[in-house]
Amino acid sequence: MNSVLGIILQRLGLGLLTLLVVSILIFASVNALPGDFAQAILGQGATPEAVAAIREDLGLNKPPITRYFDWLAGVITGDFGTSFAQANMSSFAGADTGKGGIASVADQMWPRFKTTLFLAGTAAAISIPLSLLLGILAALYRNSAYDRFINVSTLSAISSPEFFLAYILILFLSFLNPILPSLSNISEGMPFLDKLYYTLLPALTLTLAVTAQMMRMTRAAIINLLASPYIEMARLKGVSPMRVILIHALPNALAPIINVIALNLAYLITGVVVIEVVFVYPGIGQLFVDSVKNRDIPIVQACCLLFATVYILLNLTADIMSILSNPRLRHPK
């Protein structure tokens, strides 16, 4: 058991290290901007005094390494800095900026992150069971008409850009048959069912995109598994087909399936960006794209770090889960 613990601790450490490297990468990219933040905020016509004031305010006079650690310290304590859009206004007004108030990046980010989690969660709740079921069926009845139909349709779904899938769904489920709303007017404090109603169409779009991917991976993993000699052995022992699947295949399929799920959850995280824009869904993806367009660097930076963190955590979870489900590691020699 000790070796497993060792491996897991090692993976955790590695994950932490990756996060650190990623934060450096993001910080360095942002610092490759021409001029500096202050100039970017105020534009060409700004007076030198105003620029100097903002520089002072944002700590831009310090060397980059100090700023990196200041930023990192802030991130760890949940303070992602000040949004430009806000900083702009308040500096001119000479008002107090920085922590607290609606100006902080964190305040803008967290509620939107929560709504995005709701969307991703809904999509995952539909797509994971669905794709596992369909994928296992496709593996069991491989080369049948069902399998071929599934193969062609999933390939088509994977190949289509998300906005194409989104518009097709909007067309059929919203414009031609008014069942679901085409815009997600979600606000905080909405009752759960209303929220679900407005989230359903974007969630279905995400489901379509992810299910296809997950199903193909599940199918491949299961087919790979069913070809192993110990499954043949089980069948030659006269074990019932159900038992072959449940007792002999499933424990070994766990690791690949967990991997498939984690990979696709990670994919969901990126997938939300385009879909939130299509449905005007007030999530973090929308905020991210808007900030990119407005060059609101602190928000872009923070969102990027957030996406990366979730992504790394999911991959880490998959890694650790498959270590735990591997009998060779659980029961060392």
């Binding site: 990756t18 996060l19 490297v21 990623v22 990468l25 993001i26 990219s29 942002v30 490759a32 901007l33 021409p34 970017a40 009845y141 008409a145 069902y146 193969n151 062609v152 390939l155 088509s156 994977i158 190949s159 289509s160 850009p161 998300e162 906005f163 194409f164 518009y167 097709i168 909007i170 067309l171 059929f172 414009f175 031609l176 048959n177 085409s182 990670a266 995280i269 990126t270 960006v273 385009v274 824009v277 991210f288 794209v289 990119v292 367009k293 060059r295 660097i297 872009v300 930076q301 969102c303 990027c304 996406f307 990366a308 992504y311 790394i312």
Partner: protein, 396 residues
Amino acid sequence: MTFLFQVAAYVFALGGAAFLFRLIGRNITDNAPYFRDMSAGVAIGFAIGAFAIFWVLYTYLVNFSGWWSRDPASNKYFFFYVAIHGLIIFAIVAYAFRWLGRNIGTEATKKLFRQMPATASFGILVIFIYAIVSIFAGFIAPYGQEEVLKTANLAPGADPAHLLGTDQIGRDILSRLIYGGQNTVGIAFATTCLAFLIGITGGFLAAIKGGWIDQILSRSVDALMAIPQLIFALLLMTIATAWAGNNGLLVTLYMILIIAVLDSTRVFRLSRAVGLNIVVMDYIEAAKLRGETLPYLVFKEILPNAYAPLLAEFGLRFCFVFLTIASLSFLGIGIQPPLADWGTMVKDLSTFLSYAAFLPVQATLPLMAAGAIALLTVGVNFVVDWMLQRTSGLKE
């Protein structure tokens, strides 16, 4: 309540149909093993399949009332018809193309087409057509991509000079679709080539040299891959736009570089893995012991064996790059004016979609641009899928 009742009735009917189907099958075939050993689930599967086919046929035959009318109720089925006819046409074209391929050309290509499923030959045809349209866009398109004509928002079919009408500022949509193809496909292709150049060089270097070169390259790739690709691309694009200012072409160029570098990470991983698999082969050892130089090893011994997986990966990466660029453009951060491109067109034309019920032909415009993206990636994926199956089949 009636809804629940209906659902229950359908489920019951399906189960009954399945049971009957199996029973009749057993009786007719005199208990052939196929029906004898059929599980209930398979029987229900058959029933569901039959029901779906029946529903499509029924809807197709009952609801047809001319191509499109001002009556929203019947326009509901306009897109259904487009989809069905599209599928039928695509199928006919695919089979016809495969038949042609099997009967015309050299022995080698004939043999290739004989082994090919219809999906793959369809894919090849699609790639072929896209390539021609992209290369000769300047000759095919009736107008320029930036040419602003007098009438804006011309409906499709209203003026024979503008088959698909004009957009919100009066540009010919057909011409823009054709140029959009040239730009989007061309840029994606160039980006993928660049990504492969970077990725393969790094990957093979890591595989052959190993040691610290491999460590440095692999760890940097790990770090780059720890940030979701689209997100990182967006972040870098923010910085790129700041550098490029209002120069649209420069932004596009930066985008090519950014996506190529980000995508080369995956190419690196694959070519490193492929390279490692080949490097351990005895024939490489034999060549090393013969005293061969590194370039000989790479170009004469390793590369010829890496073509198949790398070509398949090229198809996949192209699709991915193509979709990423389309998504970026759709978000307004990718290919910039003056270049026309499909992602931006989808976004600009998307308002037409809400006319679906009363002006269905107009509503197809954004779908056409999006569909053009999807069609190419579907085609490429069909071909890649076949290639992958073929190479994995050969191994066994």
